[in-house]
């Protein structure tokens, strides 16, 4: 019987396949730090979140420290309610400022955290006091144009 | 309930079978006793192979009853049918050997699938069966390396592996040289006597068949045309059997396929 030959080849095949799956899980994706269930959630409110998406990174000093878990609208204040899931090994002070930033000129948007000096740390479910909304390109441009128009009155005759 | 006699191995009562609306068998009554070898003959497409299919339970008749070893075959469920089939061997027209297994593994197949015998005992049994068909020396060959006659003999060894009580042969002589025909014929007879089987042979080969069977059933147009001893076949003046036995091109079985009148078709009318 050739059974042993099949067994060996199939075993090898499965081993290579599992290795490839492990490669995808650990090297291509990052299984280690990106468990969406772990960590704690904090809430931040913004006037405008621009193009922020669920799963966008939360960074502090350029290091990814969490992910955007959900985005909603507060029906009374008309503020955007963004839930951030922070990895359990990072802690931030109570007076941390969250701002929505863009990587590169047209890149994806992410939440930047800038820790303050408060000795009390943020816990699960806490709300960030200070936030800075996304910069909306159209608003910037119109602001710029208005101020230009105000600077140079009636240049033309 | 149909009556059943101990001496009857196979009993068909008023069996009708048709494919879609094309009738194949139309009221067949046939009884085969234990230990008998019978031949079923008839023109091509006359329902001979269909008859084997009905006995084996591969086909279900539209009406009538098929009793094999006392079991009403069309009414059996899959597991019961498989239970019965362990007692039925079948030799297919071209052997139907498993092309991915060698000769030994082909003959070992029924033992490995149907029994829990240890491998050494299977080896002994397989060599025994291969010896009986004279092909023990060919046990390591693949089916593709066998001649038609050898393949048929291996298939025969495989079919009788579990010592069936009924053997069905579908055209066992077709496409073989005269020597192989003789060998297969002798094996069929010898196995039938040695294992006390009941054999049903579907065949065109008159000469070889008449030498080994107890009875010949001639089918024509979905009915049993004649049921007679082999000696009678040689002497009968029945026109259909004469045409069949003497190989006459025209007779009760017409040379021409039915069509429009020749003259009017030629003239385009």
């Amino acid at each position: 019987m050739n059974r042993s030959r099949f067994d060996f080849a199939v075993g090898l095949f499965v081993a290579i396949g599992l290795l490839a799956m492990a490669f995808m899980a650990l090297k291509v994706g990052n299984l280690a730090g990106f468990d969406s269930g772990s960590g704690y959630a904090i809430e931040a409110r913004f006037d405008n979140i621009g193009g922020l998406k669920v799963r966008a990174p939360v960074k502090s000093a350029g290091v990814v420290v969490g992910r955007v878990e959900s985005i909603g609208l507060d029906a009374e204040t008309y503020e955007a309610r963004v839930l951030l899931r922070i990895y359990p090994n990072y802690r931030f002070s109570k007076d941390t400022i969250a701002s929505i930033l863009t990587s590169g000129l047209l890149g994806e948007q992410y939440v930047g955290l800038e820790s303050g000096g408060d000795p009390v740390y943020l816990g699960a479910g806490d709300r960030l006091g200070k936030t800075q909304s996304a910069m909306i390109l159209e608003k910037l441009i119109s602001q710029f144009l208005f101020s230009k128009a105000a600077e140079t009155p009636a240049k033309a005759p | 309930m149909t009556s059943f006699h101990e001496s009857e191995m196979i009993a068909l009562k008023d069996v009708c079978f048709s494919y879609a609306d094309r009738p194949i068998l139309n009221g067949i009554d046939l009884t085969i006793k234990r230990g008998e070898i019978i031949a079923i003959m008839g023109g091509s497409g006359g329902g001979k192979t269909t008859l084997l299919g009905l006995i084996a339970g591969r086909l279900k008749p539209q009406s009538g009853s098929v009793l094999v070893n006392g079991f009403e075959v069309p009414k059996l469920r899959q597991t019961e049918l498989y239970g019965l089939r362990r007692k039925i061997g079948m030799l297919f027209q071209f052997g139907a050997l498993f092309t991915d297994l060698n000769v030994f593994d082909n003959v070992a197949f029924p033992y490995r699938e149907q029994t829990n015998l240890p491998e050494e005992m299977i080896r002994t049994l397989v060599l025994l069966k291969l010896e009986a068909v004279g092909l023990r020396g060919a046990k390591d060959l693949m089916p593709a390396e066998l001649s038609g006659g050898m393949a048929r003999r291996v298939a025969l060894a495989r079919a009788v592996a579990l010592d069936p009580s009924v053997m069905l042969y579908d055209e066992p002589f077709t496409g073989l040289d005269p020597i192989s025909v003789g060998i297969i014929g002798r094996l069929i007879k010898r196995l039938n006597r040695a294992l006390g089987m009941t054999s049903v042979i579907v065949t065109h080969d008159l000469n070889e068949t008449l030498r080994l069977v107890d009875r010949v059933v001639v089918l024509s147009q979905g009915k049993i045309h004649r049921d007679m001893a082999p000696e009678e076949i040689r002497s009968t003046d029945d026109p259909f059997i004469r045409q069949f036995a003497d190989g006459l091109p025209d007779g009760p079985v017409p040379f021409h396929y039915p069509g429009r009148d020749y003259w009017s078709e030629l003239m385009g009318q």
Partner: protein, 265 residues
């Protein structure tokens, strides 16, 4: 004129009814197959044999194709990305394309051409030469002995092959991007890791490939089992396997993609 219309309508009707007939046959066959899986799973050596012929023998073509596809993606992706100054994202683009789409889909297409067509031809020939009938006469159910192991082998092999395809592709992209073009090695991997989610991307890709394996496997054994027992019949069945498998993979991919990635952006 009206006779012409009647013929047109009835041709259309026949087209529909014959498809539905065939679907019914597929459903009945799938039912039989499902029932026989329990018996087939009891004999792993039979399945391993088919995994060897379908899966292991497809390994080299899948790995080499993956490598080339990854390399091409890297060249094309780099060409576009460097215009926007984000060549470091090359790893992300390539990995996401492979893991989400190209890995499962191209592997299934290759498998249909390389392995499933052979399975169809094999089963079709076994029917034509009465091997299936002989098995049935020996009280061995051909569906659990011949059909089910081949079907299971396809379902089993596909995720492994897809993972191997994607891995080879990422390595191919790495060779082109990092070794030849000179993108930063660290940026290549870290960007990839930051943007490829194990659950959403990798796991969903594997789920896709299992679904494709089921579909391609079922089609190949069905077409073989019901192939007309002639040379032409087997040729037709083999062609049908490749065509129908490929179309079903692409259609299922669309459905699965819509289902899986709908809520994400």
């Amino acid at each position: 004129m009206s006779a012409y219309f009647i013929r047109l309508i009835s041709t259309l009707g026949h087209l529909v009814t014959s498809r539905i007939d065939r679907l019914g046959l597929v459903a009945r066959f799938a039912g039989l197959l499902l029932v026989s899986l329990r018996i087939a799973l009891g004999r792993l050596s039979l399945i391993f044999r088919e995994v060897y012929f379908s899966g292991v023998r497809s390994l080299s073509i899948v790995a080499v194709s993956g490598l080339f596809v990854g390399m091409v993606l890297a060249v094309q992706g780099y060409e576009v990305l460097q215009r926007y100054g984000s060549a470091e994202s090359l790893g992300v683009i390539v990995a996401l394309s492979l893991v989400r789409e190209l890995g499962p889909v191209v592997t299934a297409l290759l498998f249909a051409g390389r392995a499933s067509s052979a399975v169809t031809a094999e089963i079709g020939l076994m029917r034509a030469t009465e091997q299936l009938a002989a098995m049935d006469m020996m009280a061995v159910d051909p569906i659990s002995r011949v059909v089910a192991p081949r079907f299971l082998a396809a379902v089993f092999s596909m995720p492994f092959l897809a993972a191997i395809f994607s891995t080879a592709g990422v390595i191919g992209a790495w060779i082109i991007g990092v070794k030849l073009i000179g993108i930063d090695d660290g940026a290549f991997w870290s960007q990839m890791q930051a943007n490829v989610d194990v659950r959403i991307d990798v796991l969903n890709g594997l789920v896709k490939s299992i679904v494709f394996g089921t579909s391609v496997g079922l089609i190949s054994v069905f077409e073989g089992y019901f192939a007309a027992p002639t040379a032409e019949g087997i040729a037709t069945a083999t062609t049908r396997t490749v065509v129908i498998s490929s179309l079903s993979v692409l259609l299922l991919d669309l459905l699965l993609t819509v289902m899986m990635f709908r809520g994400l952006s």
